[in-house]
């Protein structure tokens, strides 16, 4: 499932206008970590979103092919179209993909530098033991 989710996220946040895309900000490592750490519910939601994203170019641009088989230009139109679809549940499924893609992208030090924001220190993930 990781390749399918990654493919959708890379469409949603491509490199453009001098900004890196999510492809350039460690998306594979991010998804591997997410898969390991998140709840089943969140992961299932992302998988569902990725499947729906892949299967719906027919609804957004009228092309009966999965998104990963489209030309870059058509993929871009699909990525924009699906976020504005009138089908609420489809839109929500893609919102989740987009939200996690933005998390990966926005925590990247190069991206933050571009916007003059200090890089994040590493998240310690620690907690207090018994005392």
């Amino acid at each position: 499932m990781v390749p399918l989710i990654r493919s959708a996220m890379c469409d949603l946040l491509p490199a453009a206008g001098g900004l890196p895309g999510v492809h350039d900000t460690g998306i594979t490592a991010f998804l591997t970590q997410l898969r390991r750490e998140t709840t089943s519910l969140t992961w299932v939601g992302l998988c569902l979103g990725a499947v729906l994203y892949a299967l719906t170019p027919v609804l957004t641009i009228g092309v009966p092919l999965p998104s990963f088989m489209l030309s870059p230009e058509r993929r871009d139109r699909h990525a924009n179209g699906i976020t504005n679809t009138q089908i609420y549940l489809l839109r929500q499924a893609v919102v989740l993909l987009k939200m996690y893609a933005c998390m990966c992208w926005g925590q990247d030090a190069n991206v933050r530098r571009h916007f003059q924001i200090a890089p994040y220190p590493a998240d310690p993930g620690t907690f207090r033991a018994s005392s």
Partner: protein, 506 residues
């Protein structure tokens, strides 16, 4: 034992105390410290881990993972699926909130008295007295101009032009430096979340805490609450650990939040239809203003300006809010290159929000996984007021000099200029066209004089049960139209004081 964290599978862990307090957030910590100050032995049982400021995550990803209840995956089950945001760690939602402190308005007590038979003038006086004390102990102050940041300064400017009677927000923060990180926890220890004050004080006074210890059930002897049981849960692996069981000599106080307290009561055999009923909220959403000069809304205090001018009519609170950059950009509509073009303008946008005192009422049920299911949606009248809130926020942006606004409403253009802004006021009424969140939650174990319509009496004591009280947001019989933490903490102190007397307040 003063603090016991996760215990791996093995023999049952046992503990006892005079009082057990379930949850360590706004309500739980305030109740616990009140009991401890009176010399009672207190055991806090908290579902989440104890994270100190040096343990806090900085990224949104880390905050979701380490601080939020189930990765923030709770959503409303209504026409629209809106996130219900709550934290799960020692300190509860006070760790991730903006620490805005607002005294309970007098009209709220009048409404409670008329509608629910609770909240008499003497009660209101006692709540305000607790609030006086909280304000001094938790260093409530206005954010200084040096920490405001440009987004908040712009709101002040817009307010002066639009006449919204706004103000610099008072917060539980000592020397806030305006890092804009409240929602991920204040690593510089300026924000006075309860994990930094009332929980440690409870321990210092001889109390104890189990963390990573979600309570499954309250134990009863007949109608008398005598303890709690549960099983440790590892906060990272989610592995189940040892079972625990704790005995309370004098009583159990439930303060696990508006979503979890009704679930715990139900799982403990309280099947009355009032348990879980009366769930209310302040759903909120943001409108971005686009400015010619950079705003850099990630700098400055997370929330620095607010207006309560529209609290009574139509029921709105307006505020500034800076959310982390990665969250802000995910709110911009579109995907692909179109989205990237919009993101490129990030430095020029400011997000301001409204929270609606919704009249719609929902309920909390127990889902098949044992987690809360929040059934809630806005009716048409609320949607009209919700829409008006967005329009008012947009007007404020224009008064502050915004070039355009980004309303984020499906069905409307991506951005609107000053002449097009009324499109928001006549926008769609379908909640599915809006992105909103619920962060102020109320009810589910409401107090009231009538046991057939409420769960607790006016002192927070569960009707028909002995030695069992509720002391969190779930107790509130209605929403209040202002930020709730101050009211919750004062009410919890009042409940704990009643519990110490073992009976109803005079």
């Amino acid at each position: 034992m003063s603090h016991m964290s996760f215990q791996p599978r093995g023999a049952e862990v046992t503990a006892d105390a005079d009082y057990i307090v379930i949850g360590s957030g706004a309500g739980g910590a305030a109740a616990a410290v009140t009991l401890a100050r009176a010399g009672a032995g207190v055991l806090i049982v908290e579902a989440g881990p104890w994270r100190d400021p040096e343990d806090y995550a900085s990224s949104t990803y880390g905050a979701l993972r380490d601080m939020m209840d189930d990765w923030g995956s709770t959503i409303t089950m209504g026409r629209a699926l809106w996130p219900v945001v709550q934290a799960r760690l020692v300190g509860g939602t006070t760790v991730i909130n903006s620490a805005i402190c607002v005294r309970t308005p007098a009209d709220i007590f009048e409404e409670w008295q008329q509608g629910h038979g609770v909240g008499a003038p003497a009660y209101a006086e006692r709540i305000w007295a607790w609030q006086d004390m909280l304000e001094s102990e938790l260093c409530v102050a206005e954010t200084g101009p040096e920490a405001m940041g440009r987004s908040n300064q712009l709101a002040l400017k817009g307010d002066a032009a639009a006449g919204y009677d706004g103000h610099v927000i008072k917060r539980y923060a000592k020397g806030c430096v305006g890092s804009g990180q409240c929602l991920q926890g204040c690593r510089s220890m300026k924000k006075q979340s309860t994990n930094l004050n009332y929980v440690p004080e409870t321990l210092m006074r001889g109390g104890s805490i189990l963390s990573c210890a979600p309570v499954d059930k309250i134990l009863f002897d007949g109608s008398k609450a005598i303890g709690v049981t549960g099983r440790f849960l590892h906060p990272q692996t989610r592995a189940k650990g040892a079972p625990f069981s704790a005995r309370a000599k004098l009583g159990v106080i439930v303060a696990a939040s508006a979503t979890w307290s009704p679930v715990i009561l139900r799982q403990s055999g309280l099947t009355h239809k009032a348990v879980g009923a009366g769930f209310r909220s302040h759903p909120g959403t943001g409108v971005f203003g686009v400015y010619d000069e950079p705003v850099d809304m990630n700098t400055g205090v997370t929330q620095g300006w607010a207006s309560t001018r529209f609290r009574k009519d139509p029921g709105l609170k307006l505020e500034t809010l800076s959310i982390p950059m990665e969250m802000a950009i995910s709110r911009l509509a579109g995907g692909g290159r179109a989205l990237m073009e919009r993101i490129a303008g990030y430095r020029h946008i400011a997000m301001w929000v409204h929270a609606l005192r919704a009249r719609s009422v929902g309920r909390v049920d127990v889902g098949w996984t044992g987690r809360p299911v929040v059934r809630f949606g806005l009716d048409e009248a609320d949607m009209r007021r919700f829409r008006e809130g967005m329009w008012r926020v947009a007007q404020l942006h224009f008064a502050a000099g915004a070039r355009e606004v980004i309303p984020g409403i499906v069905g409307l253009p991506y951005s609107l200029g000053p002449k097009e802004v009324d499109a928001i006021a006549t926008g769609p009424l379908d909640p599915r066209n809006y992105v909103a969140i619920l962060s102020h939650l109320f009810g589910g174990c409401t107090m009231g004089a009538d046991p057939s319509r409420s769960v607790c009496d006016g002192d927070g004591r569960v009707h028909g049960r002995d030695r069992l009280w509720v002391a969190d947001a779930s107790l509130m019989p209605d929403n209040i139209g202002v930020n709730p933490q101050h009211t919750i903490m004062a009410m919890a102190m009042e409940v704990a004081t009643g519990a110490l007397r073992g009976g109803p307040c005079p």
